[in-house]
Symmetry: D2
Subunit: 367 residues, 4 copies
Amino acid sequence: MNGNSIGKALVLTCFGESHGACIGAVIDGCPAGLPLTEQDIQAEVNKRRPGFTQLSTKRREEDKVEILSGVYRGYTTGAPICMIVRNLDIKSEKYEKMRYKPRPGHADYTAYMKYSGYNDYRGGGRFSGRITVAYVMAGAIAKKLLRAINVEVLAHTTQIGKVKVKRSLSYEDIRRNTYQNPVRCADPEIAHLMEKEILEAAREGDSVGGIVEGVALNLPVGLGEPIFDSLDADIARMMFNIPAVKGVEFGAGFQSASMRGSENNDQYAIKEGRIITLTNNSGGILGGISNGMPLIVRVAFKPTPSVSKKQRTVDLRMKKETWIEVSGRHDPCIVPRAVPVAEACLAFVLADHAIRSQKIPRVLKKR
Amino acid sequence: MNGNSIGKALVLTCFGESHGACIGAVIDGCPAGLPLTEQDIQAEVNKRRPGFTQLSTKRREEDKVEILSGVYRGYTTGAPICMIVRNLDIKSEKYEKMRYKPRPGHADYTAYMKYSGYNDYRGGGRFSGRITVAYVMAGAIAKKLLRAINVEVLAHTTQIGKVKVKRSLSYEDIRRNTYQNPVRCADPEIAHLMEKEILEAAREGDSVGGIVEGVALNLPVGLGEPIFDSLDADIARMMFNIPAVKGVEFGAGFQSASMRGSENNDQYAIKEGRIITLTNNSGGILGGISNGMPLIVRVAFKPTPSVSKKQRTVDLRMKKETWIEVSGRHDPCIVPRAVPVAEACLAFVLADHAIRSQKIPRVLKKR
Amino acid sequence: MNGNSIGKALVLTCFGESHGACIGAVIDGCPAGLPLTEQDIQAEVNKRRPGFTQLSTKRREEDKVEILSGVYRGYTTGAPICMIVRNLDIKSEKYEKMRYKPRPGHADYTAYMKYSGYNDYRGGGRFSGRITVAYVMAGAIAKKLLRAINVEVLAHTTQIGKVKVKRSLSYEDIRRNTYQNPVRCADPEIAHLMEKEILEAAREGDSVGGIVEGVALNLPVGLGEPIFDSLDADIARMMFNIPAVKGVEFGAGFQSASMRGSENNDQYAIKEGRIITLTNNSGGILGGISNGMPLIVRVAFKPTPSVSKKQRTVDLRMKKETWIEVSGRHDPCIVPRAVPVAEACLAFVLADHAIRSQKIPRVLKKR
Amino acid sequence: MNGNSIGKALVLTCFGESHGACIGAVIDGCPAGLPLTEQDIQAEVNKRRPGFTQLSTKRREEDKVEILSGVYRGYTTGAPICMIVRNLDIKSEKYEKMRYKPRPGHADYTAYMKYSGYNDYRGGGRFSGRITVAYVMAGAIAKKLLRAINVEVLAHTTQIGKVKVKRSLSYEDIRRNTYQNPVRCADPEIAHLMEKEILEAAREGDSVGGIVEGVALNLPVGLGEPIFDSLDADIARMMFNIPAVKGVEFGAGFQSASMRGSENNDQYAIKEGRIITLTNNSGGILGGISNGMPLIVRVAFKPTPSVSKKQRTVDLRMKKETWIEVSGRHDPCIVPRAVPVAEACLAFVLADHAIRSQKIPRVLKKR
């Protein structure tokens, strides 16, 4: 019982490996009548490509999107949409010698054990961050669907290593600044410090983690299907399926554990005829259902496990202890490239729920 | 497209409302041949009952478990198991006057909007913490299944309000101490401070939140079905379906965002013939798959939203601003009673995955 | 991986055994705002009760419907609806001696093997026709949902043993006559012959099978989700889950195999402004999608396997050949009682698809 | 809520259109360690290719299979397997003029209505028989999985138009003869008559239907997950998702409706230490579970709806009556080419259930 599909009304099935022929996504349940081109998808995929700076991997993938089905004359047809990007810049030799020596922090050991060594281990195979290009392709469609009901989805870096965004950022800051710097931070000054944090770690053959915040604006009230498909539950599930994620929180999140109820409760008021809350500690979700306030989710990423420092490991065949120095091409911090991924994941879950709630129709407009 | 079922090989379907006839759970997919009695379930349900102290609600439910199907002559039959507890101590009057005045922090507003006011609002209805008795019933079966493959699941309180467990606790501490005090904390001294924290808030008509840690010991390597049914993703999803949860993290969790890769990576070694890691920052999960080390998950609960302090709200019919003072019977801190719930949720997901991975057979033993 | 749930937007989870405490159904996904009482369900369940004639079992079950959740003040709330009927007239002794001697034509042997003997074998347990009372409860809700969009669902007996309805029946015949006779046949004269066919078989300690036809009128065009949830595929799946069903066909069905294309094709015309077909060999489904014409499905039932004639069987413990004479209370022909069951099954699938297609809203009307 | 995935442990997701870029299948849940090459899939796909005789379409597709993921060094890895065949011989012009004139018997009208005209109508688009190449690719993997537990799956034509196989055929006949003639009939003499039946219809610009029988030998006892994923229910559902199928029956099928119970029941005996039944009217399934006897399913296909005779239809834009003469390349009888498709569908469901029942392990062999 594998689990390579997700979503109920909008379903993403994902395939492909880091060093295989391609990474692919099949989207089933996209309403008919959505204008969609390869360029729409490409624009999102490009946001995830490495920045050609010292901050990121030297693997150079063109990541050219091909739509194989489900679109005709520029519109979605209601049939499943298959999209792929081919893997072109593959260097697998290095992985051969590490095959039986699991890299600490990677899925090498668990994948080897689960699949008795049949797994494609090259470049992490199915467990590579590269698979997230499929999430971004799916997210590109989701974002277009959400835009049709005026929902906007954003994401930005709020922490890299020990460097954190401290001041409160406006949504306009996030919109405008995030993609203006290589770390995808909406505060330009902090962005600079974050870059330094990464470069410093890289210089030492080490890596750093960080935090990405996702935001959804203008959500309708009523998305989420408690008790088991609560909106937060489904978003959290999707986020934890991004490699390297170790924590997810909404609104005040872990901080709310030490707050008083009277302080944490978001009280109601009316503003311009709409019911709003005066604070947003809930992060826009109450009882697993969107309340119309901005949805706020934060996702913690561990540091890239690939570090060139010498580490202890074991030889899986010999069952004896040994050492490993991980070479290969990798990002010293994956957080900047995880920003469009988290954004896509958030958008995907929201679009799925918007269809489930019948906020998005089965056919977008009648001809 | 509702979402009142969860799990793939072991499926929990949940029904019932706080002030309806009963709370019920149907478990489909439980292997045949598991010895099971109502007492087995009752013992777990009792852990969740209020403690009859000032720390908890005055609602007195006997919570007597009835098994309606799926068990014959003391063994599971392979057919779905339906279990219910009846609601007996119901006082619904208070809720009538609050019907159109949503309580801040509760699901009143979102449920009203989603179901156009048809939702059963009494006592929070479907959104009450009372529904978690179904999770505990399901968890009781899951724990028995896991015990059959020697897996142990524990949970304990690590924070209440601003009071945190500081010292490192052994699993033996957790096993022995957790249920020796009303706050379900494995450190007896801290437990005392936590009690005071709750009582102080209660005295002020306020409430506090906290953190529960779940632990699974002796897990086989290989549970989890990436890329979308990763073990951590499925556990997080389940946890976020517990009312009041605002954050979930595994191992070093949010802390890992500020760590270096060389520090965060868990290096491998061999101990008594088994492959282990020297640290456990991953919390026992790598690439969404269990690695055989203790699984560590932490769950943040917001403070109980029911506080007697005056709060701003709106009248949903009149669409105007107003005030509310929430009365009713409720826990000033739900964390102690959430301990067996989180434990049950963790056990449920692990048992589901153990069956999916074929670590638990379809029939437990042949006659 | 059990399979005791069915449907995607409207989901039926079924539990209970023939001689257990009750038979139960949980319906998840019923829109909020549907007026619903126990009497609504009871009326449908009563149609399935044995007729108190020689044609049917002597087991006398009151089949009193209890709604345990999901309904408040006479309306569905959007939460899952659990309904049960208790088993009261249970005589299990006879089954004890047959425990290891599988009755030919029943599921005794396969259930014993699949669950290693842990299955509740009393009265056929989970494999008894009695479980279909759950289908009828679900169907009662489905029929109310369909009525809200003007869809009518009917069923009637078209064959019992060798006696077949020959003349063409109007929908008015079916509506008016079906429940006027104990065999549920819309042709009163044939009904008489069918009764005789059953009684003759019964007198000889034998049994007969038959065919039930289901009809849905006024369906919207567009129900069905090809390519794998085609409307006919989902209906067929549901029907084959009724015990004793051995064949399902739509429209011209098996007959179409020997027709020419020019003869079998239903040509289009316009009648009163609506597009219709001049014939209905397709049975109202083209490409797995409803075309707005009457949906016609026929379901073949094998004769009741319980016959008092001596039959060869084996002793499962001794692994040796032996004989059996099946006693117990059973219908010499289950077809008449299968009529409301097939009707319920058809209605259930149609309602599920009507919600999936957004033809039925998530909330039926706003207050 | 689309429905382009099927199966629970082995999941097939299908994409592609008749005149789009390709037809594709993603198989999720295939155990790791199965030897698999493109040639394995190709061999099955070739059986479905048109026979280059007057019996079949003039569309010439190479149908070259490409595996895009999930296989490494000749073995399945446990990751999803994506396979495609490209569409090369496309002639779409003819369809343009028929766009608003639905062809009787095809899905043109229902697809147009469901997707408001956004569907890709060229060559039937998503509703073309061409999509069944995806079923055959999935079936090729399923057959290899079944062979690993010694299960054999066969299919053959038993009726074309009015010509039926009359004599009883041995399994050896079916194995040996089926693919020796263009109609895929295991009785060589009848095959000859069937050919004539097709050619006669073709000459008249008409078409014929027929019946395909599927057989599975050496099945383990215990496949099938009642009550809603009964083995027969799942097989029937899969079969009805083959375009043009109008009926499905098991064992004695519709015939059993007119049989007596004493005659229809399959009595038990012991043969060479194994429990068998003396007849096989059940078609190998009792209570939705395989009983170890040969599984027998028969599938009725309607005649190809594309006939060149003049037919009445409507103009969808003008909403007025008109005429159509269907040209285009099509088979005068699709039954011969449906044989490998039905075989694949049967194999797919059986493999899914064999994994669900844990008869096939998650990893096929340990290295």
